[in-house]
């Protein structure tokens, strides 16, 4: 953590960490506005902004019409005129209408005006499955955006990272997509340092040291990968677990340092395998460290189907599990 101005901490879950961080951002800078669907009177569908409208007023906590393209587009215009908007897309599955405003506009404002205008904008959205969200409340969208220069993308797994990375995203002078895995919202609790601090975007975190295999993941699956790796430790297998935290930029140095030590790489993510984040990591490691590898790189990812189904067997068939992850780790170590 870059700046820690406090010694004490508070236990909270991920949704509380988002809420507390947004609250402090609203308190400390009146250029900060929140806009999105049902963020006002309802206080967001996960109650992240509950009561914000009473404290900060409807001018700063804006219930928008159901119009995702303009939620982002209006925030782009606000950012260009000196405000620090935080736009919310209620579920990542609803982000597609705003694709042009994110990819065609926000990501290119600085570049196309040669720095005359900038777009300091945060786009928050809950993503991910395992919550019986069916086709339109479960998707992962990171691969649709990580191809785009001009964007930064963050996907924290722990409450302390939520706070530090969200603060960094809000401070950032460029557009940042802040992806919150909704199954971790209330499932994952942890110590969160009090006071203001930031965690640099683009810095991964080695959660568990190991010598025989590197596992790289992010979001919900970080927790399951860690659970599997800790269990394998009792059987004498030594697995290193790296939490990416940031998807763009991505921490090449930490990944390579780990892989060059363990000589084996397993990438685990919930999003589809084809063209996913794991493909880019695999290519990078193959380019940079192929001759240091003792096994083929392996990816354990979501299947190439349009979405996970609503029926429990269809959701379970899409999602991985700590047991499946442990099997893959065991096979890789034994290779």
């Amino acid at each position: 953590m870059a700046v820690v101005s406090s010694t004490s901490s508070t236990v909270m879950n991920n949704v509380e960490a988002v809420r507390a961080t947004l609250y402090e951002a609203m308190k400390s800078d009146d250029r900060t506005l929140i806009l999105g669907e049902d963020v006002g009177a309802r206080g967001n569908v996960f109650l992240i902004t509950k009561d914000f409208i009473n404290e900060f007023g409807p001018q700063r906590v804006i219930d928008t019409p159901i119009a995702e393209a303009s939620i982002v587009g209006i925030a782009v215009g606000m950012a260009m005129e000196g405000l620090r908007p935080i736009a919310e897309i209620q579920f990542a599955d609803f982000i597609y209408p705003s694709y042009n405003q994110i990819v065609g506009e926000a990501a290119k404002v600085r570049y196309r005006s040669n720095g005359e205008y900038t777009c300091p904008l945060v786009i928050r959205t809950p993503y991910g499955g395992g919550v019986r969200g069916a086709l339109s409340h479960s998707v992962s969208v990171e691969a649709l955006f990580y191809h785009v220069p001009g964007l930064k993308i963050v996907a924290p797994a722990f409450p302390a990272d939520v706070k530090g990375l969200l603060n960094a995203a809000i401070d950032d002078p460029d557009p940042v997509m802040f992806l919150e895995h909704k199954k971790t919202y209330r499932l994952i609790k942890g110590e969160v340092p009090n006071g203001h601090y930031t965690i640099p975007l683009g810095k991964a975190n080695v959660l568990k040291a190991g010598t025989q295999l590197t596992v790289v993941s992010y979001g919900l699956y970080v927790h399951w990968a860690l659970e599997a790796a800790v269990a394998l430790e009792q059987g004498g297998l030594s697995v290193e677990v790296v939490d990416l935290r940031s998807i763009r930029p991505m921490d090449k140095a930490t990944i390579l340092e780990s892989v060059e030590k363990t000589r084996k790489l397993l990438i685990i993510h919930e999003d589809n395998k084809f063209g996913g984040i794991g493909a880019e990591i695999s290519a990078m490691v193959a380019e940079e460290a192929l001759f240091n590898l003792d096994a083929p790189i392996r990816r354990l990812c979501g299947p190439d189907v349009p979405a996970m189904g609503y029926a429990l067997p269809l959701e379970e068939a899409f999602m991985s599990s700590p047991a499946e992850m442990a099997d893959a780790m065991r096979e890789m170590v034994k290779f």
């Binding site: 119009a67 782009v76 260009m80 600085r110 460029d174 921490d251």
Partner: protein
């Protein structure tokens, strides 16, 4: 609530809406400059000196009028790509236009953008892409910022063609502005053509301003070939916005005389007879005649004005052409505030 206006007939009445002779001549000069610069763009393209040019011929009156109503230093302009006269009218220099055409390093976008995609905080001129209607939410966000900070007396003017009114972002933007009574003017330059698609294939009835009723805001229609009428309409709308009266949708009926761009050929989709008929309303010679008839300037003055415009364009052409292209290394600059690669090394 839509306020229907009869098209004003400047020649009959010469209602000048408080515009001084000086202002009227400045408007004519902007219109002449716009046309001369755009002709220069097409010439340079045909000479093989630049890869692309576009024109707004037929839009001069609405743009000169709107620019005169715009208050530089206070208002914000969020234009579209066919707005050269508006940009010149609020202070863009012909030399900057030529830098854009030649894609030189000193261009506003440092040679990255197509011609006529400017960006200047000093002029209050927003950066845009070429994507239709994508700038409208930005204009609304800027207007929200003005209202949020309590900056009374300032407003946003945003412009678009008839084609843009089909986009979802157009609806979303007008609707949000109406909900929050934002200080913004939506100015539609209706030239009847979305590249090759005529108005009849774009909308079920030909009047954009009538949609204002559905949003609960005033809608005004004006003869887009009459610069004074356009000035009056946009001024009224901007004054309403600046004084807290909320948004207005203004529709200026004009016409696109030329092809969409140098890469288009309008002979493939519209008749020469139609274009020739509409040419009779050409606002540039029309406004010049009006000002001479009303003794705002003499024929000699008008000739001198045209000569000075041409000389300025010639000079700007030579100066801009002599400037350097951007260095290839600038491809990697201004992606982020920091010089960053996707990988953190």
């Amino acid at each position: 609530m839509a306020l229907e206006r009869t098209e004003s007939k400047a020649r009959a009445a010469f209602e000048r809406h408080g515009l001084s002779d000086e202002q009227l001549v400045a408007m004519l000069r902007t219109m002449l400059m716009q046309r001369t610069l755009e002709n220069r763009g097409f010439q340079l393209n045909r000479q093989g000196k630049i890869p692309f040019a576009s024109a707004s011929e037929g839009h001069e009156a609405v743009q000169a009028g709107a620019a005169t109503a715009f208050e530089r230093g206070k208002d914000i302009l969020v234009p579209y790509y066919r707005d050269l006269g508006l940009e010149l009218g609020i202070g863009l220099e012909p030399y900057e236009v030529l830098l854009s055409l030649f894609a030189r390093a000193a261009d506003h976008s440092a040679g990255r953008q197509f011609p006529h995609h400017y960006a200047s905080r000093e002029l209050g001129l927003h950066t845009i892409s070429s994507v239709i209607a994508a700038q409208l939410p930005h204009a609304v966000g800027a207007a929200y910022a003005l209202q949020y900070r309590g900056e009374r007396g300032r407003a946003v003017l945003t412009t678009f063609g008839d084609g843009a009114t089909s986009e979802g972002e157009w609806h979303e933007s007008v609707n949000f502005a109406a909900v929050h009574r934002l200080p913004i003017v939506f100015l539609c330059e209706n030239n009847e053509w979305a590249i090759s698609t005529p108005l009849a294939l774009q909308m079920g009835q030909p009047d954009v301003y009538k949609r204002a009723t559905g949003y609960g805001i005033p809608g005004i229609v004006v003869n887009g070939m009459d610069p004074i009428a356009c000035y009056a309409a946009v001024r009224e709308a901007l004054e309403r916005a600046r004084s807290g009266g909320g948004p207005t949708l203004v529709e200026a009926k004009c016409y696109r005389f030329l092809s969409h761009t140098t890469d288009d050929d309008d002979r493939t989709y519209r008749s020469r007879a139609e274009v020739a008929e509409r040419r009779k309303d050409d606002p540039v010679p029309g406004f010049e005649r009006l000002l001479i008839e009303r003794a705002v300037l003499s024929e000699q003055d008008a000739e001198a004005l045209k000569r000075s415009v041409l000389e300025e364009v010639n000079d700007a052409t030579d100066r801009a052409e002599a400037m350097a292209y951007p260095a290839s290394t600038t491809l990697y600059e201004r992606v982020y505030a920091e010089s960053w690669q996707p990988w953190r090394e």
